[in-house]
């Protein structure tokens, strides 16, 4: 199998989805700001979408289901981004910071 025929292989897309998911997980653990964690969450969601689209193209009897699911994931991700950003803005007004360490007043 040549390098140039990778686009006709299901495994390629699955491996790319895994890479995006794990890079997002790594960023989720490693980032110290809320916006960085939001970016990592977007990466995780797009990894899941790639998985849906790959199975939709290669092994679904009805090739519409995965596309509909991906569109729903996009809509929910957009709603999630809007809410998370407004929460970030509200937190920034109260704490003057978007670092996760400085928002620790609620403990106890």
């Amino acid at each position: 199998m040549s390098v140039f025929s990778l686009s006709n292989n299901l495994d390629t897309y699955l491996v790319i989805g895994i890479l995006l998911f794990v890079i997002g997980l790594y960023g989720m653990i490693n980032r110290k700001t809320f916006i960085g964690m939001l970016i990592s969450a977007e990466l995780i969601l797009s990894g899941a979408s790639i998985n849906f689209m790959a199975f939709n193209h290669f092994s679904a009897p009805d090739p519409v289901v995965g596309q509909v699911f991906t569109l729903f994931i996009m809509a929910i991700a957009a709603a999630e981004t809007a809410i998370v950003l407004s929460i970030i803005i509200a937190v920034y007004r109260n704490y003057k910071s978007i670092n996760t360490d400085s928002v620790a007043d609620l403990e106890g």
Partner: protein, 175 residues
């Protein structure tokens, strides 16, 4: 062996370019120190993902990926970064090294396990049908089979809009 200078070779080469765009964009998004650069890496990654969707036979979803993610989500995140711009503080050394090594370890473990599973499984694949005007079928099934979910998604978007307005406004009235 497919030569680079045939149609299939060029398509495969562009596919490789999209893969590199996706993975390098994701790495930039998680590893760069300034937030603006991470958002730019995220946009790069989403353009690559849109290219992968095109190769998966649905140009409509690829177009929507660019329109929604690159056009709306990334721009909104850039707005928030500019409103709440705060340079990421220099982390304390020990905790940072601990977190980085732990996340690298767990990440490589998960990658190894999942890639092993993917490569060892015999996936049931059907013969891929040529996509015939997939936008039309997509619209029909969105309004018939998935009509209920479609309406629920619009309710979710409405609630998100109202909720984000309320959250941002209440913070303002207090200060």
């Amino acid at each position: 062996m497919i030569s680079l200078f045939t149609a299939e070779g060029m398509a495969g080469f562009i596919f490789l370019v999209f893969i590199i765009l996706t993975v390098s964009g994701a790495l930039i998004a998680t590893n760069s120190s300034s937030l603006i650069r991470s958002v730019a890496g995220l946009a790069l990654c989403f353009v690559g993902v849109a290219g992968l969707y095109y190769y998966l036979g649905s140009p409509f979803v690829a177009l929507l990926q660019i329109l929604i993610y690159v056009g709306a989500v990334c721009v909104t995140i850039i707005f928030a970064v500019m409103l709440a711009n705060n340079a990421e503080t220099k982390r304390s050394g020990r905790c940072n090294i601990l977190a980085t090594s732990l996340s690298l370890l767990s990440g490589s473990g998960i990658i190894f396990a999942l890639v092993t599973i993917v490569l060892k499984t015999e996936w049931f694949t059907t013969v891929s049908k040529p996509s015939d005007g997939s936008v039309e079928k997509l619209g029909q099934s969105l309004l018939t089979t998935y009509g209920m979910s479609f309406e629920l998604i619009s309710v979710i978007l409405l609630v998100a809009i109202v909720g984000s307005l309320v959250l941002a406004k209440s913070g303002r009235s207090q200060s």
